[in-house]
Assembly symmetry: C2
Homo-oligomer: 258 residues x 2
């Protein structure tokens, strides 16, 4: 978390926000212990952020958590992200057609950010799903997006991957590079239980007419319910959906995965 280039006071404040996000609810002393900020500085930043509603302070426990103002702002971000609202009907159709769980994801700072979801089996969960992040190097959507990023962004994104070995199938850095090439040629990515045992998925990138990658779409299943060839059969539907979204998004620019 400490790796942020500064951007002055605002950068510091956001850095503190992330520190709280990572371990909330968290006490002043914990932040003090793990952080590179002097006591008085950290103290004042927390005060300001709390006063602004970006953090919430629990007097009883003396701990900080993220504030509700973020929820309100995120509602705006989500509805303005151009991709999520635009993709809603397409997602509905895709979930209907495949009968499986469907994810819509974008890239955020080298991580996979899930922006929408349809759950075919269980009733849909709200919010608890949109906003979730996941690793890029071992998820279907992550690899699909990495494969279609432009070089500069890809290099930076790869540098941010941890390559933690979640399962026996998780790829390492060099295996990933090779696989990305395959994905680029084939046009879609698999997740072969690389993130979670028993969970498999196929994912396709969402490309604008100009070839810019703006997100990814996936169909997820379990080894119990389906198999890789079974999922592969969903690829045409996925690609159709992705191109529907891409066509509409044409003029919209995907924010740099800085």
């Amino acid at each position: 978390m400490r790796d942020n280039q500064q951007d002055g006071t605002v950068g510091k404040a956001l850095d503190v926000l992330e520190m709280v996000a990572a371990r909330a609810p968290v006490r002043f002393s914990d932040l003090m212990a793990q952080g590179g900020y002097p006591k008085a500085t950290l103290y004042r930043l927390l005060q300001t952020l709390t006063h602004q509603g970006m953090l919430a302070y629990d007097e009883a426990r003396g701990s900080y958590s993220l504030g509700l103002r973020l929820v309100r702002l995120a509602h705006g971000a989500w509805s303005q992200s151009a991709l999520a609202p635009l993709a809603r009907q397409v997602l509905d159709r895709l979930a209907q057609a495949t009968g499986e769980t469907v994810h819509l994801a974008q890239m955020d700072q080298g991580q996979v950010l899930y922006v929408d979801k349809r759950n075919a089996t269980r009733p849909v969960e709200m919010f608890s799903q949109a906003g979730k992040v996941g690793p890029a190097y071992c998820t279907g959507v992550g690899k699909a997006m990495l494969a279609f990023m432009k070089d500069a962004a890809l290099t930076e994104a790869l540098a941010r991957q941890s390559f933690h070995r979640f399962t026996a199938h998780t790829l390492d850095a060099s295996a990933l590079r090779a696989e990305l090439e395959t994905i680029r040629q084939r046009g879609y990515a698999f997740d072969r239980e690389e993130h979670e045992a028993g969970i498999i998925c196929v994912a396709v990138p969402i490309l604008t007419g100009l070839g810019r990658m703006i997100g990814a779409l996936s169909v997820t299943s379990s080894t119990a319910r389906s198999s890789l060839p079974g999922l592969e059969a969903q690829v045409p539907a996925l690609q159709q959906a992705a191109s529907d979204i891409g066509a509409e998004a044409e003029s919209w620019r995907f924010p740099e995965s800085s």
Copy 2:
């Protein structure tokens, strides 16, 4: 929007964030026109926020929108808000029992912030609902919360109400004051088509054991489907649900509705 007390540089940055939130996608010149910031200052704030991922800049259109980083942070805020995750099962049960649309709301800067929802009729919409804000003075949850706020917070919240007349039934400032007293005594609030014609609801505050108001719960219907007495029949179920949540939330502090 310009009413923010400053809190230094961070306050200014967040003020700009709100300006973008309010009218996105918005061009530099529009912000320039309506904002109290000199050109160079505004320019630099936008740069910083964009670089930090709090804003997204659309190169093609030359316009700013809210950034995806907010969505990620909000996911944390939501799951840390203590109320929302804690209330999920209760909400499910309540929606099941009443067969109507159910809302969970909290107060944020004098506005009603919806943090979760169950929609009995249509399939649930994600995110697009949680994070929404509404007026406090003319919604069931809003009035239920106002009625149980402590004096200082109430005064401040009332000062922030616009009292725009949405329908013929919308209350004005003095009518609201009287109604709040009634609600306080009765323990629940109605929305008699005050915000939207044809839409009615009953709402109860969520109180901790110590009497602190931490949110509100409502059941919504339409004049076509139901009536006020019909909704009133749901009050016991609502109050049970609210007290279930309140009991669990005991030790948790509701962030000041600054």
